[in-house]
Amino acid sequence: MTQEVPALALADITCRFAARDDASKAYTAVANATLNVARGEFVSVVGPTGCGKSTLLNVAAGLLEPSSGTVEVFGERLMAASGVNRRAGYMFQADALMPWRTGIDNVVAGLEFRGVPRAEAVSQGQAWLRRVGLAGFGDRYPHQMSGGMRKRLALAQTLILSPDILLMDEPFSALDVQTRQLMENELLALWAEDRKSVLFITHDLEEAIALSDRVVVLSAGPATRPIGDFRVDLPRPRDVSEIRMTPAFLDLHREIWAAMKEEVLKAYEQQKAI
């Protein structure tokens, strides 16, 4: 298992952004970050707000070229210049559905881009709509759906391409608590079917522990890097709302929070100082 090539390997990633008015005042969002995701592993990354979690994910997706460091996808070097990470699916924090396409047309967009014939794409799309509980909503436009439905639509849109790696950027942060737990359970159920590698970004430690095999804690920005790596040995299948009550969960939560607390306070102080 340890000998295997990881699905995603971020090695020594540094990202600097030039300040708009003064090039010498570059902002280092991420510094010397190293992070591996094994095949079939569900890894969550937690950290204080504004610490560069999304930056790290954009690097993994190939949407952003790191200032230094390398990204390897199943052992192959990823170059942002030659395109995005083709083996990854990305679920964004904000709505990224095409508002001018109906539900079904949004779901099949990826297949359409790959030149799959329309009839086949639609039949696959309908199957995916059923799997995420949106059967019969295919002809609705996104604005006619609730926030939770739009998230499920986005999930179907990403998963229909059956990506080997799933990148998720706080996908459920905009949802209310009940809908969110439902979505988390649905995500776990879908994930259990074929065990993709998942890199899940969140600022919610409970969500991270409930979902993942491993939780990585990031330091406060600037120059974010991983400062803690915790294995979550809770049994699967899990129910995210029940597992939160178990003693093992609470112990883990205490342990990880102890590592995280200082960074959260640091980030808070920095934001107050500005």
Binding site: L63, N85, R86, A88, F92, A109, H143, Q144
Partner: protein, 265 residues
Amino acid sequence: MRLRILQLLLLGLLIVAWYAMTAPGLIPPFYFDKANRAAFFFGEPQKVFWVIVDWFASGEIFPHLGITLLETALGFTIGAASGLGIGLWLALSPTASAITDPYIKGFNSMPRVVLAPIFAVWFGLGIWSKVALGVTLVFFVVFFNVYQGVREVSPNLIANARMLGASQRQLLRSIYLPSAMSWVFASLHNAVGLAFVGAVVGEYLGSSMGVGYLILQAEGTFDINTVFAGILVLTACALVLDSLVGVVERRLMTWQPKAGQTEKV
């Protein structure tokens, strides 16, 4: 429905007021020194009406109206299409946009109606000088809206489409174009009106056909009733064209939320 009745009532009221103020001898003249002066300057509604009826009954208006509408349609189509194309191109090519930026700003702030005499020299007194004027007016309205529309596409949407495997061409077709279209339709209502302005102003400056020509001729003989008849016919045509754009817009823009229809689950 009530609203419609009130709207018609207002129209009736305006016509009655027009009639009352201009009918010679109906009320004593209070501004002009002679009873028929008001009619001379402002026309009389019933006479305007009969001019219009006569035009359509005799068929005299049709060739003129046809020419004006043809100029409008050509100016609108060419202007909107080139505005869309060049708007897309410049919005997606930062270098080209940076180079051409001052010229575009210059052309836009120029009162482009002054080009009409030059177009008359270049394209003659036929329809093409009017079409050219319409194109210059329509082009910039559509161009700026497309440019803005493409620039304002959510970066999330683009990143998402790229992650789903869209190529540059597919991005253009599935993201940029539909996104720009809502801005384009917002500008098309304006553009139709401007295409009309181009056609009529062109006709004023020199022509042998068209509703603008009819109006100019009538003005030359102080036939105010005919001038007003021409203005009313043009206004009606502009309204019809505008509602046609509205129909097309509703057909193509079904995805846009309408008030009171959002978040319906």
